[in-house]
Amino acid sequence: MRLPPGVTSKDFSDALKQFAEAVGKDWVFSSDDDVALYRDSYTPFWHEEEEPIPSAAVAPNTVEQVQQVVRIANTYKIPLWTISTGKNLAYGGSAPQLSGSVVLDLKRMDRILEVNERNHYALVEPGVSYFDLYQYIHDRGLKVWIDPPDPGWGSLVGNALERGCGFTPMHDHFDAHCGMEVVLANGDIVRTGMGALPNSKTWQQYKYGFGPYVDGIFSQSNFGVVTKMGFWLYPEPEAYFSGNVTVPKRDDVHALVEIFAHLTHSGVVQGTTSVIDMPSFAPPDPQLAALRLSGDTKALEDYLAQKGLGYWSLDLPFYGPAKVVAAQWEYSKEKFSSIPGVRFREVESHRFPLDAEQLAKVRDPVPLGVPSLGVFMNGGPRGHGHMDFSPTLPMTGEAVLEAHAVLDKAYRDLGSPTDAPPGVPVFAFFPRALVILYWIPIEHDVEKNKRSRAIFRGLVKTAAERGWGEYRTHTAFMNDVMDVYSFNNHALRRLHETMKDALDPQGILAPGKNGIWPKHLRKEKA
Amino acid sequence: MTVPPGVSPKDFADALRQFAEAVGKDWVFSSDEDVALYRDSYSPLWGEPDELVASAAVAPDSVEQVQQVVRIANTYGIPLWTISTGKNLGYGGSAPVLSGSVVLDLKRMDRILEVNEKNHYALVEPGVSYFDLYRYIQDRNLKLWIDPADPGWGSVLGNASDRGGGRTPMRDHFDAHCGMEVVLANGDIVRTGMGALPGSKTWQQYKYGFGPYLDGIFSQTNFGVITKMGFWLLPEPEAHMVGTVTVPKHDDLIPLIDISAYLMNSGVVFGQTRFATPFFGGAAEQDAALAALQAKPGGASKEDLEQYVQEKNLGYWNVELSFYGPAKVVVAQWEFAREKFLVIPGVTFQETKMLRFPMNAQELAQAPDPVRIGVPSLSIFGIGGPRSQGHLWFSPIIPMTGEAVFEAQKVFADAYREMGLPVVAGGQTFFGPSSAYPRCLLILFGFPVEHNAEKNRKNREIFRRLVHIAAEHGWGEYRTHTAFMQTVSNVYSFNNYALRRLHETLKDALDPKGILSPGKCGIWPKHLREARAPKA
């Protein structure tokens, strides 16, 4: 049996006994087999000593039990690692950062506390997945949409706290939340925003409450355990339409992104999209591969034109009344028509609600608010998983070109395990910035994983040199990423640590998360 | 000369001298005459011994000077009260919560650091007003809009950090911000979000950065001094119009709000919506015929009022829906909205002329409501009438339903009558409601302020009573006047003041000496807590 670092055997078994009294012995996992279920299925440390493995797991069912677990952990200085549904694959899964932590598994807290159809919001516990909430809404015929990310079995609470995103107009998940309840390290329960007013009528309607707006400090951090979260939902729209815009030349990307920025910042386009470079995504062919390596842009453009493909492709998603959507698409085409050789194509069009038969025919249901696990096909039938490297870029064509060039080169220089640079779409996941997502494959091969980790770290540094920071990262690289956020000699980390020491003096909550370590585990930084 | 509480005259004199070395002696104000300039011009305690007043003011010009001032304050335990442009009239103006504080006046830090036309954002210092930023953009002919608060001389940064709002699609000012720079109580400078990455290219493009999203803890508090703030701007739209939907019966408010909520939450209506009834703040309020109806025993009935509006061709309720965007899209949105409202029998529609942008100077001068089209103005100051001596706001948030509005009407009308205050026919006592913030309704009570201690005292009692009544019904204020910050903070008492305990834990960690704006939003430093922050 593993022990949490710094905890004696006796203290640990006393703690486990008390955990069992709090949550029931069926819900404390300490056997090797049970604990192994909490490993990161996509761990980049497969079969290595370094792989972080929990010492146990505890699964409470109520807020009161969470408080008790936290108090016990405080008494014995047991580090906890909170998971909601623990589906954070590609970013660390359910495994802790500090090996030997006890996983605080909140999956059993899966109540949907309220769904308000008139005012379009929900209040949920951490264990509620997108599938769960979708089913609940579907069963009752409520005219509200959720915004699932890829994949759909994740937790609404957990994903929003990690500041993940989806595809519909509500794609910024943290921004779509309204009101939280949090158990602090000292066992206190706090409700934020209007929730601090007893019997408030607007907890899920007005975000900020009175005084400091604290919600953000509980996202991507280890300052508390979130036990309830409100979410704004999207009223079921009348229609959905997606139209494709394809442009022929490499340098068209400047106008393409600038016009897209105008449309999305004006509210004409409310969903997300990706900027696809066709050289990476065109059907593979030796001629194409050679052209890509040749650096001859004109020849590449000619090849793509000949294949009827174009150089850049963007799908614009529209949600709303059918006539409004039509007008928005018309306007968008007008704007993009300033690019010579631009082509437009209608991709997909729907009216809601869709019945089961219609839904089954939809190519990709996720942008229509329907959760799916389809994204798992992307790694191919023999995939063992991947890690996500995800820097944010300014919303400009220059940034797209620069990112492709710099990161592709870095990837090759660092010794990519694959031969060709990965095809990487640039996503417009956030309202006003772009994100590039590199899937770095995980294999069941120690040498390859070691190299992949080195590549990841190299990419973090390369991106930082260019002023691009990650919006989120894998637990294995949290320190590396936090290190580049170093303005004024790491002033931000100092501030995080000041808050950590105040809110969790014993340092029991998720040590190391996003580079925030409790005092007794803090390394001396230069 | 007053001295800050708990500070010896010698320490204060030393501090003032050091402030002068830091910012220049011209920018330290300690004479009675100069310090009087920092009074709250709309103080509900005007001229009374309890009026909130400063002991001095310091006006730095750079972040480095702010750091020095903060360090000096820390050394001598001097409480500071930060103002950006100090135009927080109606909510406390430029005066501190803790009398005797030294005002930290950031007006001189008024640089517009960047306006990016392609990516539609700006980065500003605290002293930049809406007028300033508007002129900057106009002078360069940039195709960008700002979202001014009602009085245009307020600080873009200050208003957002107090979580104020405007009228256009970017009206939630705090939500529209992206990235901050903050001087902490220990003099450290922090940049939040992507600003923490040196050389970041996305400080004003991606809000959250990496790790905890801290920005919110610097709004409506005293955890740091904000010295820079980024803002997302709206690309100049092609067109704008306002569609008004009017309904004949009292109960029509329920579907009127439900449909409006659907339209707003779907993004079909992009700007603010305002609900109104002719009985409050409208033409009907002064009508003698209405007064006669109201004078009946029991007051005017619902049927009386429905008949009255029918005869006067007025409508019982209306909502103004603001549309912004491409002209053809706006037309389609308004058409869709009308289709939805047709379920209400007797509904009628009106629309303003479609405005097209850019407008020339003459067109702008004729625009009926410039703030709605991103043009700052001071016209709101006319609200109290020509002899007004100021006002303050009581501002609770209620759910976005007709039932909630009816409940608020009844509850507050009953309260008014109980306190001997007049109630108009129809029973409404507040402006709005409006969707100043998405997904909820804001109702606004305007309290007149006068240079009359007796009247002010009475109004303060009424204000406090309303705060408690609102809380009993689950309605809290989104913001409040410095004179009532303790009262309002006291109703946010869930789990025996757990949130306040959290605030105090953060306060003690971030400002152990308690020098930054003591008492703001009910957050007191340790040494003043016992006396000042009573638990109910």
């Binding site: - | 007006k107 002293g127 002899r387 007004s388």
Partner: protein
């Protein structure tokens, strides 16, 4: 429309105004007009959206637009600026310095008949 030169001068003036300084070669009258334009005009200019003017008119003041008056005194101008009056709030020295205020006075009294000047 204003000429480019005037725009630049105004811009320069606005930049320097916030430092409480006069633009080079700026006469006191020009400074007064510049500061007036920034701080006073939004309430005291002509138009129904100018609450200062509307209130003055409602209280019977003729003319109601400040710039059009020829009977103002230095004290009558300075008092409301530094003390407030009705709903006009106090203005601080970080907004309108003493030198700015003197310039506003000079500007607003520019058309006074000689006997009215004090």
């Amino acid at each position: 429309m204003r000429s480019l030169g005037a725009v630049l001068l105004l811009a320069l003036g606005l930049i320097l105004a916030t430092r409480g300084a006069a633009a080079p070669d700026e006469s006191q009258l020009a400074r007064g007009q510049r500061v007036y334009q920034k701080w006073c005009y939004p309430c005291h200019g002509p138009g129904n959206d100018k609450p200062g003017t509307v209130a003055m008119a409602a209280r019977g003041q003729k003319p109601a637009v400040l710039e059009d008056r020829t009977d103002l005194t230095a004290a009558a101008i300075k008092f409301p600026v530094r003390q407030g009056v009705f709903f006009m709030p106090i203005f601080r020295k970080t907004e309108v310095t003493d030198a700015d205020l003197d310039a506003i006075v000079a500007y607003l009294m520019r058309n006074n008949k000689p006997s009215a000047q004090k």
